[in-house]
C-alpha cells in the first residue's frame, strides 16, 4: 500500500467504498457528469469495489480471482440502461453479475412508461413503493443502492424536486449507502432565464442543490476545458459533501482519467 501508486482513493485511508464500520450511517454520495463524460466506467468500478473490495483500475490483476463472498449486497437501479449494458461492461472488469446473489439489477428503463404516467404523480409514488417492497424482499442486509438517471424521471414527469427527493428518501432509508449518478449539464440547470418552479431547468437545479446539501461525498466527472484530447478523457474530482462522514475522512483530490477504446480506464494524479 504505497501512497505513490496512482490509484483511486476516495478516503484518506486509501479505501474507495467504506466497509462495515459505517453501516449505521445512511450515506449519500453524488456523482455528477456532463455530456461526454459518462460515468459508466466509474459506476462499474464502484460496483466492483462494493461487492469485493477490489478495484481493477491501473492494475492488471488476474481477472478471475473474485471470490464468491461479497462484502455487501448491491442494488443497481437504472432509468437509462438495461441489464445487458452493465452485465457486459462489468464482465470486462471480471465481475460476474448474471448469477450473483449479491447483485441485483432493477431495470426501470425498459418499461418505465408502462408503469409511470408523466402527468400522474401518484404513479411515480407507486413506482417507488414497489421498489421499496422489492428491495425489502431481496435482502435483510442493508444494501448499497446505485441509482442512475433519476434526473430523467424528474424532467419527464410532473413531480416536483421535493416530491422526487421524498421518493428517494424511501430508498435511502433502506440502504447503507446511496450512490446517485446525475447528469448536470449547464443547459439542464440554467436558471438565469428559466426561474419558475415549473420550468424543468429550475426543477433539476433545485433538486441538485438540495441533494448537495445532504451528500457525504461528491464526485464530478468533467471533460477537459480544452476539449477532446487523445490521452485524457477528463477530470475526476472528489470533494466532501455538506455532511461529513463520521468515521472516515475524504481525500479531496482531482484526478485526470482516460477511458480508452477498449473501455478500460486509467487514472493519473494531477
Amino acid at each position: 500500500m504505497s501512497s505513490q501508486k496512482q490509484d483511486l482513493h476516495i478516503f484518506t485511508d486509501n479505501s474507495i467504498i467504506p466497509h462495515n464500520q459505517v453501516k449505521s450511517e445512511h450515506l449519500f454520495n453524488l456523482i455528477t457528469h456532463v455530456q461526454g463524460t459518462s460515468p459508466t466506467w466509474l459506476l462499474n468500478l464502484l460496483i466492483e469495489n462494493s461487492l469485493y473490495g477490489t478495484c481493477s483500475i491501473n492494475t492488471d490483476t488476474n481477472k478471475q480471482h473474485r471470490s464468491n463472498t461479497s462484502r455487501s449486497s448491491v442494488i443497481f437501479i437504472s432509468f437509462l440502461n438495461d441489464f445487458k449494458f452493465y452485465a457486459s461492461s462489468l464482465k470486462k472488469n471480471g465481475v460476474e453479475v448474471q448469477s450473483n446473489q449479491s447483485f441485483k439489477f432493477i431495470d426501470l428503463f425498459t418499461n418505465l412508461f408502462d408503469r409511470v404516467v408523466p402527468s400522474n404523480i401518484e404513479s411515480v409514488s407507486k413506482l417507488f413503493d414497489d421498489l421499496t417492497q422489492e428491495i425489502k424482499n431481496l435482502s435483510q442486509d442493508k444494501p448499497i443502492i446505485f441509482i442512475e438517471g433519476l434526473e430523467f424521471l424528474l424532467l419527464s414527469t410532473d413531480i416536483s424536486s421535493i416530491q422526487c427527493l421524498s421518493q428517494l428518501n424511501k430508498l435511502h432509508k433502506l440502504s447503507s449507502s446511496v450512490i446517485l449518478s446525475c447528469q448536470s449539464d449547464e443547459e439542464l440547470i440554467d436558471i438565469a432565464t428559466f426561474n419558475h418552479p415549473t420550468h424543468p431547468q429550475y426543477k433539476l437545479h433545485d433538486f441538485l442543490v438540495r441533494i448537495l446539501h445532504r451528500t457525504n461525498l461528491n464526485i464530478a466527472l468533467r471533460p477537459l476545458e480544452t476539449g477532446k484530447a487523445k490521452d485524457i478523457t477528463g477530470t475526476l474530482s472528489i470533494s466532501k459533501g455538506c455532511i461529513p462522514y463520521e468515521s472516515l475522512d475524504i481525500a479531496e483530490k482531482e484526478y485526470l482519467y482516460l477511458v480508452s477504446k477498449d473501455q478500460s480506464a486509467k487514472l493519473f494524479f494531477r
Binding site: 445487458k84 449494458f85 476539449g227 477511458v259
Partner: protein, 449 residues
C-alpha cells in the same frame, strides 16, 4: 476431367441462372450470389464447407466472428456472437461486425458517415442516431433519404426474401417518392466496373495471375508479409460486404419507386402514446426484418402540435423509442431536429441528446464563409465544403465513458453523387498569402541591403 479454356469461368455463382430483372437499377451482379447459393447448396464441389453454411462464402464470412470467439472466452460474449451469426445468416451481406464491440452494424447509406461512427462498419443495429441541423438548409434530409434508400436497396437484394422495412413518422405520404437512386458512375466508371467484375470471377487465368500480382507488389519482405495478409482480409471483406453500402445519386430516383409493402407511414397525431403504439404494431408485424425508423424533423411545429414539445410529452416518447431499440435488436432509429427552432443550449435538445446513442450536428456555413471558400478554392471548386459537422455522442463509445465531443473537426459537402465528410481545414486565402509573401520579400531585401 476435362480441359478448360484459360478464361473460362469455373463457378459463376449462378449469376446467369437467375437474371435479376426486377431490379434493373441495381449494379449488375450484386446480390445475386445469395439468391442462387441457397437452392444450389451442396452442388458445388469446389468449396467443401458449403453444405453447412448457407452463407455465400462460408469459410470467409466466419473469419471475423471466429477470431473474436477465441479472444473472448466468455459466455456472455459468446451468446452475443451466436446472435450475430444468426443475424448475419438472416441478413447476409448487409451487416458488418463492429470493430469495437460485439454488435453488428449496418450502413447509413453515406459511407463517410459510416466511417466517422467509428465501428469500421456503419451504425450498430439496435441503436439510434440524432442529426441536428442549424439554419434553414435541409442537409439532414439528404442523410435521412440516403438512409432510407440504402434500406430499400438492401431489401431488393433478394427478391424472394425481403429483409428491410422502412417506417417513417410523417404526415407526408409522398416522403418516399423522391428517394435517391444508386449512383451508377460515369460511363468510364461503368466500363471499368465491368472489367473488374470479370477479373473477380474465378477463372483459370485469374488463379494463375493472382499470386504473381502479389509478388510484384511486395515492396519489402517485412511489410510484404503483413500486406498480403491484410490484402487477403481486405479482399475477403470486399467480397462479403460488397452489398454493405451503396452510393446514392441525389439527382436520380429509386427505380422502381418505393412500394407500399416496403414502407409504412405513421402520420403524426397529437398524441405520442398513440404514435408509439402504431410503431410497435408495425414492429410486431415486420418482426423478421431490419427496421429503419425515420423521424424527419422531429418537433417541427408544422407537423407536431405545440403541446407535444413539452418535456413531459417528448421525453417519455424518446425514452420509449430508446427502449424499443433494446427490445427489437433489429431496429435502427434516425431522426433529425431543426436547431433553429430548438436551440442547442435548450434543455429539450440536451435531454433528448442523452437518450440518443449517437448525436451529430450539421452546421452549414453562412454566406460569407461560402464566398470566402469559393475565393480560396477558385481552381478546385470540388473542394468547397458546405458546412461543419460536429460529433457529440457516438454509439457505445460515449456511453462507456469516452469523451468524443469533436467540434469543428469535420466538414461536409453535398455533391450530386456523394455526401462527403472530411477533416476540416481552414483554407489559405491565396491573395492574402501572396501579398504577405511580397511584403516578406521586401523586408528581406531591405535587410540584405
Amino acid at each position: 476431367m476435362s480441359f478448360r479454356k484459360r478464361g473460362e469461368i469455373i463457378s459463376n455463382g449462378g449469376k446467369n441462372t437467375l437474371p435479376n430483372n426486377r431490379i434493373p437499377n441495381a449494379v449488375p451482379g450484386r446480390g445475386s450470389p445469395i439468391t442462387s447459393s441457397i437452392p444450389r447448396r451442396g452442388n458445388i464441389p469446389l468449396i467443401p464447407n458449403r453444405g453447412q453454411g448457407t452463407q455465400p462464402i462460408p469459410g470467409r464470412t466466419q473469419v471475423i466472428p471466429n477470431k473474436r470467439n477465441l479472444d473472448l472466452n466468455e459466455s456472455f460474449e459468446n451468446l452475443q456472437i451466436k446472435e450475430n451469426e444468426e443475424l448475419s445468416f438472416k441478413f447476409p451481406k448487409i451487416l458488418k461486425p463492429s470493430s469495437l464491440n460485439s454488435s453488428m452494424t449496418i450502413s447509413t447509406g453515406i459511407s463517410d458517415l459510416d466511417k466517422i461512427l467509428g465501428h469500421q462498419g456503419g451504425i450498430p443495429l439496435g441503436s439510434s442516431l440524432l442529426i441536428e441541423e442549424n439554419g434553414s438548409t435541409d442537409f439532414s434530409s439528404i442523410l435521412l433519404k440516403a438512409f432510407a434508400s440504402q434500406g430499400i436497396i438492401h431489401n431488393r437484394l433478394n427478391p424472394q426474401q425481403s429483409n428491410t422495412h422502412l417506417v417513417v413518422l410523417t404526415s407526408n405520404i409522398q416522403w418516399g417518392k423522391d428517394l435517391p437512386g444508386v449512383y451508377r458512375g460515369s460511363s468510364r466508371q461503368i466500363k471499368k466496373q465491368a472489367i473488374r467484375e470479370n477479373e473477380e470471377k474465378l477463372s483459370i487465368q485469374n488463379l494463375v495471375n493472382k499470386p504473381q500480382i502479389d509478388k510484384d507488389l511486395r515492396i519489402a519482405w517485412r511489410y510484404g508479409l503483413n500486406d498480403s495478409n491484410k490484402r487477403e482480409i481486405q479482399e475477403a471483406n470486399d467480397e462479403i460486404y460488397k452489398d454493405f453500402n451503396h452510393q446514392f445519386d441525389i439527382t436520380s430516383r429509386l427505380n422502381p419507386l418505393v412500394q407500399n409493402n416496403e414502407i409504412s407511414y405513421i402520420p403524426i397525431s397529437n398524441n405520442f402514446i398513440q404514435l408509439y403504439q402504431q410503431i410497435v404494431q408495425v414492429l410486431e408485424s415486420q418482426k423478421n426484418k431490419i427496421i429503419r425508423l425515420i423521424i424527419p424533423s422531429i418537433l417541427n411545429p408544422s407537423m407536431y402540435s405545440p403541446q407535444l414539445t413539452q418535456l413531459t410529452e417528448i421525453l417519455p416518447f424518446i425514452h420509449k423509442l430508446r427502449s424499443l431499440t433494446h427490445k427489437y435488436p433489429q431496429l435502427i432509429i434516425i431522426s433529425s431536429i431543426p436547431l433553429d427552432l430548438y436551440s442547442k443550449s435548450s434543455i429539450i435538445v440536451k435531454s433528448m441528446e442523452s437518450l440518443f446513442d449517437t448525436v451529430i450536428q450539421l452546421e452549414p456555413f453562412n454566406q460569407q464563409m461560402l464566398q470566402f471558400l469559393e475565393r480560396a478554392y477558385k481552381n478546385e471548386p470540388n473542394k468547397i465544403s458546405h458546412g461543419l459537422l460536429h460529433i457529440f455522442k457516438l454509439n457505445n463509445q460515449s456511453d462507456a465513458g469516452q469523451m468524443l465531443i469533436t467540434k469543428n473537426e469535420y466538414s461536409f459537402k453535398n455533391g450530386r453523387k456523394k455526401f462527403e465528410i472530411e477533416e476540416w481545414g481552414i483554407p489559405v486565402d491565396d491573395d492574402a498569402t501572396t501579398a504577405e509573401n511580397d511584403e516578406n520579400k521586401q523586408t528581406t531585401k531591405d535587410i540584405d541591403f
